[in-house]
Each structure stands twice: as structure tokens, then as C-alpha cells.
Symmetry: C3
Subunit: 208 residues, 3 copies
């Protein structure tokens, strides 16, 4: 199970780092860094546990999760000035966290005994709500409303994992493939400004 634990903590760490980077953009103090890092790092998983009824939520009995958030917050507090483009870094770390969490969330849903459908929704929720909480509380436009593909990548990761596992693939392999698919799609979106067709009120009129 160690690669899963690694994936889990990797997700917490990179999301916590994005929360701390958001705190740096708001010029908060160190406690503000920790607060926003923790909300972003464990927010998605907390919502997932609440929806599933797995209470108390996971980090209450496992202090290491908030410990990781504190660590990353302190690290970012003392090093963020070395980074040229902090929002760009935030987007890339957020992409790593999203890829890890959409699969972890699906795994935890399946382990809780819910259907593949519900597990996929848990995966997407875990992957997106940490960032939503970060953006709403820090008063920024949500990353999810950005032009580039985001939720679609989380859906791809969660659904491909559920599919591969149901096809009998070994979990470790399915994890690797699904994380790569989610991250690959989001990375391509960030690198090449990939977008899905977006709703456009005027152009639609010509077709129908």
C-alpha cells in the first residue's frame, strides 16, 4: 500500500503548497499561510469523507496530514520570493495535486463500498474542492472557471481508473495510468492552452 500512501501525501503536499502560494499573493502572515495551506491540502478529502459519512474525518486521527500542510506552508513562506512566477507555479502544483487526488478519491470511494459511479464523483470532488475552497476564501477567480481544461482532466483520471480496475487491471498499474492520463491532459492544457469547446452565445445561433 506504500505507493498509495505516497500518492496521498503527495496530493496533500502539493495542494498545501498551492494554498501557501495563494497566501503569499495575499501577503498573509505565517499562520495565514498554514491556515490556507491546510484548507487547500485537506479540503477536498474532508468533503469526500463527510459525503461518504466516514466521520470523524481522516485528519482528526492522523495528525501527519496537517503536519505536512504546516511544513509546506513554512517552506513556501521562506522560499516563495525565489520563484519568478508564483501563479504559474501554483497552477502546475495544482495540476499534480488534482491528478493524485482524482484517483485517490476514487479508490477511497470504492473501498467505502459505493458504486463505480459514486466513486468517480468522489474522485472529482476530492480533486476539485480543495482548490475551490482556496480560491473562494482567498477571494480569487476560481481555477475551475479558467479557460483551460480542468474538471475534464479530473473526470478522465477518475473514470479511467474505475474502468481499468473493473477490467481487472492490477490496482498499482491502474493508478499509474490514470494519474498520468489526468496529469497529461491538464499539462497539455497548460502548455498548449488546450481548451474544450466552450459555450459561445452568438456562434450557436448560426448553427441551430
Amino acid at each position: 500500500m506504500s505507493y498509495l500512501l505516497f500518492l496521498d501525501y503527495a496530493g496533500v503536499a502539493v495542494f498545501a503548497a498551492t494554498g501557501a502560494l495563494a497566501a503569499s499573493r495575499k501577503r498573509l502572515d505565517i499562520v495565514g499561510f498554514i491556515f490556507l495551506a491546510a484548507i487547500t491540502g485537506i479540503g477536498g478529502g474532508t468533503l469526500r469523507d463527510v459525503l461518504l459519512g466516514k466521520l470523524p474525518v481522516f485528519w482528526i486521527e492522523q495528525p501527519a496530514y496537517i503536519g505536512v500542510c504546516v511544513l509546506l506552508a513554512v517552506l513556501v513562506y521562506f522560499t516563495a520570493h525565489l520563484v519568478e512566477y508564483r501563479y504559474r507555479l501554483l497552477l502546475w502544483l495544482d495540476a499534480v495535486g488534482m491528478s493524485a487526488y482524482c484517483v485517490m478519491g476514487t479508490i477511497i470511494g470504492l473501498e467505502a463500498g459505493v458504486s463505480a459511479y459514486a466513486a468517480i464523483v468522489m474522485g472529482i470532488s476530492t480533486a476539485t474542492f480543495g482548490g475551490i475552497f482556496r480560491d473562494v476564501i482567498s477571494g480569487e477567480k476560481s481555477v475551475l472557471l479558467s479557460d483551460e481544461i480542468y474538471i475534464t482532466a479530473a473526470l478522465l483520471g477518475a473514470a479511467s481508473f474505475a474502468l481499468l480496475v473493473s477490467l481487472g487491471l492490477a490496482q498499482s498499474l491502474a493508478v499509474g495510468v490514470a494519474v498520468m492520463l489526468a496529469f497529461g491532459l491538464r499539462a497539455a492544457a497548460l502548455l498548449f492552452a488546450w481548451t474544450t469547446p466552450r459555450y459561445k452565445p452568438r456562434e450557436g445561433r448560426d448553427i441551430d
Copy 2:
């Protein structure tokens, strides 16, 4: 119970449609439409279930609810350009959803065995928080802060239902009356710009 099931799905469908309309105003892609439709459609009921401790929440074991949200999101994605005033349509659908949900939420509260007082609060929460989540995540000014009567209509629907049932009226009749009262008040507010007395800092000084 079929009219209750109809009321329930009607609430999900129209709230999901308002979420998709909000997505169209933000020019999101189809997955963004589905995401915002689902959060709006099932958000209020999800909060209600969490507060009551009815976990896992209702839509985890009943995929049809999110299915309805997906359907409405796709429908709105391909037809929203046909609508002249999308925000106006959003407000009217929101009014239908609010009327259905303030009564449904109260029913579910009473069925969970809580007091009439708590059931009314559940009704108001179910009716209002889907819209709050929609407005907060899409970064719009909340419909609840609008000038026209809103929460008062949800309170009227929830309280009148609880009262009528406690007076011994048949549930089906109480549902009909309460939904009509809530919708009628909100519709009047939208049509005739009905407002309740709003707090005004200056005029108050003259009276006291």
C-alpha cells in the same frame, strides 16, 4: 408517494438548469456545465443530509439525481443561445426550485424525526444553499442578496407546510398549498418587484 418523487426531481432539474445557465454566462465547457449544474441541483439537499447525519448523502446510492443534472446541463448547453434573457430565466427556474425544495426539505426533516422548528430550518437550507453554492463558486452576487423577496418565500413555504400538516391536513394537499404560497410570493416579487422593508441607515434615524 409519486407526487413527492416528482417534486423532488423537479427541484433537482430546475436548480440544475440554473447552474447550467450560470455556466453559460461564464462560458464554461460542457463538463463545467455539468459540474455547476450538479452542485446547484443537489447542493441544498446534500447540506441538509449532512446536517441531519443522513450519510452517505442521498445521491451516492441513487445515481438518477446526478443523471438528471447531466441531462439538464447538456440540454442547456445546446439550447441556451435560444433564450433571450438568460439571467431572467435563471431567476424564474430558481423560483420553481426554491418552492419545491423548501417543502421537500421540510418533509425530509420531519421524516427524520426532528422537531417542526428544525424541519423548517432544513426546508430553508435545502431551498437556499444550492443557489448559494452556485453563486459563490461562479463568483456572482448571490440571488439571496437581491432586492426582491427570496428567503422570506422559502420561510413561508416551509412554515406553512409544517403548520398545515400539524393541523391535520392531508400531506398531498399541504404540499400543494405550501409550494403555491412559496412560488406565488417569489413570483410576485419578480413580477411586481415586491420587496420587504429593507434596512436603511439614514431613514431609521428620523424614527427612533
Copy 3:
């Protein structure tokens, strides 16, 4: 236990008053005052109960909590115009509520049997999220992002209480000391514009 009950209701009352003051700044109607007062007054404790799995949440079986919120909302509705600086009053009441709640939340966490670490996080959550919900829903810049010390004061109150109790101090005394420490630090921050060192992108470069 009566001083704890007093502390609890004091926290609800002052937070509810800040919610109502926020409603007055948005010129909502009386039902809007009650809605925002209730969300602010019971929001932090509701989140705490959900995270701990103490469901249904506390105010469902104890109507007095929402009763206090209604009372304060009506009171503020009819008297807010007498106040010269409503935002200033909001900040001070918020400081009282935060001080009461960071200790109450820690107590309830400890009573639920979680570790001191988790109880402190519960204390901070209880103390901060009512205000976060108020600020997010009313569309204001969050008090937590303000320049003066805020979350640090909640952390001080929660941590000092947990420490004093673990050192064997009588609970009543520990409550008194911890509330005073939290309030004292926040009050100093408001009076003398005390700040903790805040992240500054440029100045950091010179040091490292």
C-alpha cells in the same frame, strides 16, 4: 457547567450580531438579517460537529441557539442606525466571538475524545468559519485576510487552553486565561494595529 453555557451562548450571540451587522451593510430585509445572523452564529460550531461526526448538529435539537440568532438579528435591525461605525463594531464583536469559540471548540473536541492536536484544530475551525461563511456569502473581503492578527489569536486561545488543562489547571481557570489571551491579542491587534510579520515578496530577496 453554567459558565460554559454562558460562554457558548455569548459566542453565538456576538457572532450572530456581526452577521446582522453585515446584513445591515448590505441593506437586507429582516429575514435576510436572521439568515446571515444564524449562519454566522452557528456556522463554525456546525462545521466542527460535522467534522467530528456529532450528527445531527447541535442546534437541531436545541432551538435556543437559533432563537438567540433571531433575537440578535431583530435587535440589530432596529438599533444598527444608532451605531456610528458599524464595521468597527462588527470587528469588536467578532473578536469577542472568536475568543469564546476558540476555547469552546477546543473543549468540545476534547470531550469528543480526540487528541489535543485535533481539539485545537476544532477550536480554530469553530472560531473562524462562522466569520468566513458570513464574509463569503455577503461578498465581503474576509476578516481573516485583514492585516491585523486574527487566526494567530484563535490559535493562541485554543493552544493555551489545551496546554493549561493538560498541566492540570482547573477547567474554569483555564477557560478564563485562554479566553483572555485570545481576546487580549486580538484587541491589541485592533487597538494598536499589531501585525505579525507578513510575507513581502521584494524585501525577502534582499535577505536570502
